[in-house]
C-alpha cells in the first residue's frame, strides 16, 4: 500500500490551473521531498491530500483512504505541519500540545514533545508571543504527537535559522527511522538532498521530475566543479584545459582555476596543468548541487527559490555560488 497516491489530479481555481494532471505515489516508509519554486502547486497538492481543498479531477488517496471521504481517518494517523498557519494567541505552548493529544486520543507528556522540538522553556508562555520559528516548532510538536504513520510537512524550514533547519532534518531522519513516511515540500534545496530517499520536482502545476537524488543527477548529467589552487608564476593555459574531452569551461583569477567538467575528466585536467608547468598546490571538487539540478529543471524563473536555498543552510551551496561568480 502506498502512503500517498495521486492519480490524474487537476485543481483549478477559477481560470487558474494550480495543478495539472498530477500522478505520483509515495511508498510506505519513504522520505519524499516535494520541490519546486513558489507557486508551482506544491501547497495546493498538499492541501488536497489534507482535504483543505478538493481536486477538480482525479483521485487522491492517503494511508489507504480516500483523501476526501476518509479525511478524518487519514489525519488521525498523520502529523501535519501546514503552510500559512497561525497559532492560538491566547493558549500556551503546552495547551496547544494538550489539544493535539486530546484530539488524537493520545496519553503522553506534553513537555517531552516540546522538549524534542526545543521549546520546552516556552511551554507556559502564550503562543501569541512566539517568534515565527517558535510557532513553526510548536506546530511540529503538535504534528509529532501520537507517533503518526505519515508526516506531511509543508515548507518545514521556513522561519527557522540554519541551526533550526538542521534540527528539523534530524527530526525527519529520526521519524523515518521509526518507520514513518515523510512527505515534505521545500523550495530550500540544501535540506532536501541530505534527508530524501526520493524527490519530485514541480513546475507550473506539473511534476517535471521524480527520482532519487542520484538518479536525477545521472539523468541530467550536470558537471562537477573542480577548484584548483595554483602556485608559481606560470599563467595557466586555459585553452588547453578547455580543449580536453569532458571539460565544459575553465576560468581563473590567477590564484585559483575553476573547471567545470565530468567526474572522469578531473585527473586529466590536473595532469594537463602540471605538464604546462603550473604548480598545483591544492584542489577540491564539489558535485553539482541539487540547486543546479533544480535550476536545470525549473529554469531561471526559480530565482527566488535558489536565492533562499543558498542563503539558508548549506555550505556546499555557498561554494557553488562562489564558483559561478568567477565565470566571465
Amino acid at each position: 500500500m502506498a502512503a500517498i497516491e495521486l492519480d490524474g489530479v487537476t485543481k483549478r481555481f477559477g481560470d487558474v490551473t494550480a495543478v495539472q494532471d498530477l500522478t505520483f505515489r509515495v511508498g510506505e516508509g519513504e522520505v519524499f521531498g516535494f520541490l519546486g519554486p513558489n507557486g508551482a502547486g506544491k501547497s495546493t497538492t498538499i492541501n488536497m491530500i489534507l482535504d483543505f481543498v478538493r481536486p477538480t479531477a482525479g483521485s487522491v488517496r492517503a494511508l489507504g483512504h480516500d483523501a476526501q471521504d476518509g479525511s478524518v481517518a487519514v489525519r488521525r494517523r498523520t502529523g501535519v505541519l501546514p503552510e500559512g498557519f497561525d497559532v492560538y494567541d491566547r493558549l500556551t505552548g503546552r495547551e496547544h500540545v494538550e489539544f493535539a493529544m486530546r484530539s488524537k486520543d493520545v496519553e503522553a507528556d506534553p513537555d517531552a514533545v516540546l522538549d524534542r522540538v526545543g521549546i520546552a522553556d516556552a511551554a507556559d508562555r502564550t503562543a501569541g508571543g512566539y517568534s515565527k520559528g517558535m510557532a513553526q516548532r510548536l506546530a511540529l510538536a503538535m504534528a509529532l504527537v501520537g507517533d503518526p504513520d505519515l508526516l506531511i510537512l509543508d515548507e518545514p524550514s521556513s522561519g527557522l535559522d540554519p541551526a533550526g533547519a538542521k534540527e528539523m532534518r534530524e527530526i525527519v531522519r529520526t521519524e523515518a527511522e521509526r518507520g514513518a513516511t515523510v512527505f515534505f515540500s521545500s523550495h530550500v534545496l540544501g535540506q532536501v538532498e541530505a534527508v530524501c530517499d526520493r524527490v519530485g520536482i514541480m513546475r507550473e502545476g506539473s511534476l517535471v521530475a521524480e527520482d532519487s537524488i542520484q538518479g536525477l543527477r545521472e539523468a541530467i548529467g550536470t558537471d562537477s566543479t573542480l577548484r584548483i589552487t595554483v602556485g608559481g608564476d606560470v599563467i595557466p593555459d586555459l585553452d588547453a584545459v578547455e580543449a580536453l574531452d569532458g571539460v565544459s569551461s575553465a576560468t581563473t583569477d590567477g590564484e585559483t582555476v575553476v573547471v567545470s567538467c565530468r567526474d572522469d575528466a578531473k585527473t586529466t585536467v590536473i595532469a594537463t596543468l602540471e605538464e604546462d608547468g603550473v604548480t598545483v598546490e591544492d584542489f577540491e571538487t564539489s558535485e553539482a548541487s541539487l540547486e543546479d539540478l533544480f535550476l536545470a529543471y525549473t529554469g531561471d524563473d526559480a530565482d527566488e527559490g535558489t536565492g533562499a536555498g543558498g542563503a539558508a543552510a548549506d555550505p556546499t551551496g555557498a561554494d557553488d555560488a562562489a564558483g559561478s561568480e568567477v565565470e566571465p
Binding site: 478524518v72 489525519r75 497561525d86 492560538y88 491566547r90 484530539s103 502564550t126 506546530a139 503538535m142
Partner: protein, 310 residues
C-alpha cells in the same frame, strides 16, 4: 466525533480574553442589578418577581412599548452575535483553522464545537446574572415562583443559543470577516428593529397583489391580522418574548397578543378568542420555531463550509 474537543479548546481560549469577563459584568448588571434596584428601592411590599419578568411589566417608555424580557433578548442576541460572528472566519483568515484541521476533526466537528463553545461562553455569564437576580430577589423578600422563573432562564439560554447559531452559521459560510460582520449586523438590524415593518408590510403587500389579480378576493381584516402575527413570531426575539409572556399570562392568546396594538388585539380577540388556537399560534409550535433557529442557521453554515476550499 471530536466536537467536544473543539468546544473545550474554544472555551479555554475564550476565557483568556477580557471579553468573557466584560460579558459577565454586563449580564450581572442587567439581569441581577435591575431586580436588585427595582425591588430594593422602588417596589411596593409583597412584590413578586412577575412584576419585572412577567408580561404585565411591559412599560411604555419613550413611546416604545418595552418589556424587561424583550430588552433582555435584544441585549443577549447582540452579545451572542458579537461573540460568535468571527468564530470560524477569523480562524480561517488567520490560519489557525489549518492548525485545527491538521488534527483529526471533521468540518462538522468544527462547526458543532464552535457552536457549543460559544454558547457556553454566552450562557455562563447569563446564568451568573440570573444567580445574582435570585439572590437579589430573596434579599428583598420578593416572592419568586420557580415554576415560571426556571423555564424563563431556560428560554433565555435557548434564545442565546439561537443567536450563537446564527453567528456561527454566517461565520462558517462567509468568505471574509468583513462579509460576516456586515451579514450578521444586517440580520440583527432586521430582526431587532425592522421586523415589525416586515410583519406589517408582508401581509399588506400580499393583499395588494391579490387586489390586482382578477378573480381573487382581497383578504379579510382578520386574515391579515393573523398573517401579521404568524410573520411576527417567525422572529426568534418575538418568539422568545411571547413564550416568556406565556409563563406569566392566563391564556396562550393573551401571551400571543402581548404588545399588539389595540386594533389588532380587538380583531384577534374576536377571531381567535372563541375556540382552540390554531396550531401555529400554540406555545409548543412557537417553541419549535425557537428550536429551529438553534438548528437551521448552523446547519446551513456547515453545508456551505463543508464544500468550501479553505
Amino acid at each position: 466525533m471530536t466536537w467536544d474537543d473543539v468546544a473545550h479548546k474554544d472555551f479555554r481560549d475564550a476565557i483568556r480574553s477580557r471579553w468573557l469577563w466584560a460579558l459577565s459584568v454586563v449580564f450581572v448588571g442587567f439581569i441581577g442589578g435591575v431586580p436588585a434596584l427595582l425591588f430594593g428601592y422602588y417596589a411596593p411590599a409583597e412584590a413578586s418577581a412577575a412584576d419585572l419578568f412577567g408580561a404585565a411589566a411591559s412599560m411604555p417608555l419613550l413611546g416604545l412599548s418595552l418589556s424587561y424580557s424583550g430588552v433582555l433578548a435584544f441585549v443577549i442576541a447582540f452579545i451572542a452575535l458579537v461573540t460568535s460572528h468571527g468564530s470560524i472566519i477569523d480562524e480561517r483568515e488567520s490560519g489557525t483553522l489549518k492548525l485545527l484541521l491538521s488534527l483529526p476533526h471533521s468540518r462538522l466537528d468544527v462547526v458543532a464545537g464552535k457552536f457549543a463553545g460559544r454558547t457556553v461562553v454566552v450562557a455562563v455569564p447569563v446564568l451568573a446574572g440570573f444567580l445574582v437576580a435570585v439572590v437579589a430577589l430573596f434579599a428583598t423578600s420578593t416572592s419568586v415562583d420557580l415554576s415560571t422563573f426556571a423555564p424563563q432562564v431556560a428560554l433565555t439560554l435557548l434564545v442565546a443559543a439561537a443567536f450563537v447559531s446564527l453567528g456561527v452559521g454566517v461565520s462558517a459560510a462567509a468568505r471574509s470577516n468583513r462579509a460576516a460582520t456586515v451579514g450578521i449586523f444586517g440580520l440583527y438590524f432586521l430582526l431587532a428593529f425592522l421586523w415589525s415593518l416586515v410583519a406589517r408590510g408582508f401581509p399588506s403587500l400580499l393583499d395588494a397583489v391579490f387586489g390586482r389579480l382578477p378573480g381573487v378576493d382581497r383578504m379579510a381584516a382578520e386574515t391579515i391580522a393573523e398573517l401579521r402575527m404568524v410573520v411576527k413570531y417567525l422572529n426568534p426575539l418575538r418568539a422568545y418574548e411571547t413564550l416568556v409572556a406565556e409563563l406569566y399570562a392566563d391564556t396562550a392568546l393573551g401571551a400571543r397578543l402581548v404588545k399588539a396594538g389595540f386594533r389588532e388585539q380587538a380583531i384577534l380577540q374576536e377571531s381567535l378568542g372563541g375556540g382552540a388556537l390554531p396550531v401555529y399560534f400554540r406555545g409548543w409550535f412557537i417553541f419549535l420555531i425557537l428550536l429551529a433557529w438553534i438548528v437551521v442557521p448552523a446547519v446551513l453554515g456547515y453545508l456551505s463550509f463543508r464544500d468550501a476550499d479553505l
